[in-house]
Amino acid sequence: MRIVFKTSYLQDIRPWKHGYQLSLYLILLALALAAPLLLDDFYLGELTNVLIWAIAGMGLMVLTGHTGQASLGHAAFLALGCYANIILLEQGLPFLLAFPLAGLITGILGVIIAIPALRMHGIYLAIATLALSVLMDDIIVLSEPLTGGVAGKFAPPVSVLGIEIDRWGTPRAFYWLVFAVTVIVTLGYINLLRSPLGRSFIAVRDSEVSAQAMGVHIARTKAMSFFLSCAITGLAGALMGLFAGAFNNETFSVVISILLLMMIVIGGLGSIHGAFLGAVVIGFLPQFLSISKEWVGALIGGNTVAIPGLETGVFGLILIVFVLFEPMGIYGRWLKIRTWFELFPFYRRDMFKRQKSYLKTERLR
């Protein structure tokens, strides 16, 4: 068991608990930096994809995981970010300006959209955002001069500090771009969580009444949460647009909104780790299933495994198993495994048996 002696308040303020944890993160960082050298184009592309989803997941996590505002419409903000970025690029702005601006614009639009939503809670908010996500499709079609309507738009190649970046042309450069954004967003998120604003998000999530009594302005706090969430999601959307190369009104569908929410719940609500773990599951699992189809195919000697759509069915099943196995998300499970190792050999087998738990109504605010 690791015992940490705390000798200064800074120890609680800095983002890692002990040197061991810090070195783990550093190793992870080093591995991620070296990924383009270690992986082939296929896996690098998948890794890039997972990172983009993780950014989007962090965007939603701010709002849903930390402020307790469920959104089933975040694909709309992906779309906003994506279109904003490309339109700005088309106006001749350099990428380094267009990209953060896209995030900012999405954040501001997010707040404007959120203002009427601030009084909603739970499923009511979820449905309002879902409706928004459905409407975004039509809004894109109706604002055709700006968005290209149903014909969609193509992402131009971008250049950062003179380096040409293109998803397919220069996958390594593209990966580094996405990686850099991931790191920046993650650091910002960590900072958020250890400062007053992040705490006020959690306060609003856990009890609006007492947050208010502590001087937290509920509407303003939610609005800020929407801003940050939408801004981050906008950045992810911009990257997703570059990643896809072409997109139109159908690209950011409601299904993606739903998948995003699924992702953070399965990863573990309320932790940054959860966004990443969820992104790995939602982002890579379908691909993994598709690859394992080859192995199964090789095993039974067929050319193709016969049942079409099987992957989606299995995907659903696996998600069900994930939720059943660990309703607190993968991160929750990871914490338990870690504790197991830390306590070794002083663990009890039934230590993590779930004690019966009971729900109370969420209809009281």
Partner: protein
């Protein structure tokens, strides 16, 4: 006359939304869980009935097939509860939502596997029969939809308001722990409600497939029905019907009178507007906590 026709068809259609919404509300009212697979259960109910009664499947007489499929779907609901939902007892609403979304994937896949992906219509004795008064045409299916929905809503409403079991269900949703302290078999009650929801989904499916056609993706209609339930104030049975009717009515009028390009937006825009005006639906179930 024209408008009257729109009203009637809007009502009939709204009743289908209302029926699916009823399923959502039923489960919510008794367990505070949101069953995102309700639309898919409706689709499944429709296919089960088609599988039993259509000539190119088993070809049972319609009135024999209906009770069997109602029973099967009730059993399916109970089974879901036993296998999945019960294991999630006491876990947060969000995890249950995710579980049912994933369940929807699986149901859609299985339905596609069994019945294929092409739309199918339920062969039924009401098909193609119309009632006409003057210029007004009313499909017999539409009449059936309206009658069944109103009856079902009413009886479920009375069940919750008047019976001991209904009261116990409401209690269990508000405070599971206290419900146990009162000796309410909370899990069994939940199983019951899932069975009931399966049955309601089946009724909705039958009426839906009789009015039009179903394919494995018809379950996505659940999203609109969900919105309808929320408009009504999620948790209120009459609210679900009201929400369904509102969405059902806005559609024909919007496509009749609003310019192309905008008309299809109407139902979702309406959802937004209703929620902006009444953030917790028409028959609000949300209370301010007394501290």
């Amino acid at each position: 006359m024209d408008n009257l026709q729109l009203v009637i068809s809007g009502l009939a259609n709204g009743c289908v939304y209302g029926l699916i919404a009823l399923g959502f509300v039923l489960i919510y009212k008794a367990t505070e869980a949101v069953n995102f697979a309700q639309g898919d259960m409706m689709m499944l109910g429709a296919f089960v009935t088609i599988g039993l009664t259509n000539a190119d499947h088993m070809g049972l007489p319609f009135w024999v097939a209906v009770p069997i499929s109602l029973g099967l779907m009730a059993g399916f609901g109970v089974l879901l509860d036993r296998l999945l939902i019960r294991r999630m007892f006491g876990e947060s609403q969000t995890s249950v939502v995710i579980l049912t979304i994933a369940l929807g994937f699986v149901i859609r896949f299985v339905a596609g596997l069994i019945w294929g992906h092409e739309p199918q219509t339920l062969q039924n004795p009401l098909a193609g029969r119309d009632i006409r008064f003057g210029g007004l045409v009313l499909g017999l299916e539409d009449v059936a939809v309206i009658v069944v929905t109103v009856l079902l809503t009413l009886s479920l409403y009375l069940f919750f308001a008047r019976t001991k079991l209904g009261l116990a269900m409401q209690a269990a949703s508000q405070n599971q722990l206290a419900a146990y302290y009162m000796g309410i078999p909370v899990k069994r009650v939940q199983g019951l409600i899932w069975g009931l929801a399966g049955m309601v989904a089946c009724v909705a499916g039958i009426l839906f497939a009789a009015k039009g056609a179903v394919d494995p993706n018809s379950g996505l209609l659940g999203i609109k029905a969900f919105a309808a339930a929320v408009i009504g104030g999620f948790g209120s049975l009459p609210g679900a019907l009201a929400g369904g009717l509102i969405v059902g009515l806005i559609e024909p009028f919007a496509s009749r009178y609003i310019a192309a390009g905008y008309s299809q937006i109407a139902p979702y825009a309406l959802v937004l507007i209703v929620l902006i005006v009444r953030p917790h639906g028409l028959f609000s179930q949300i209370r301010l906590k007394k501290v």
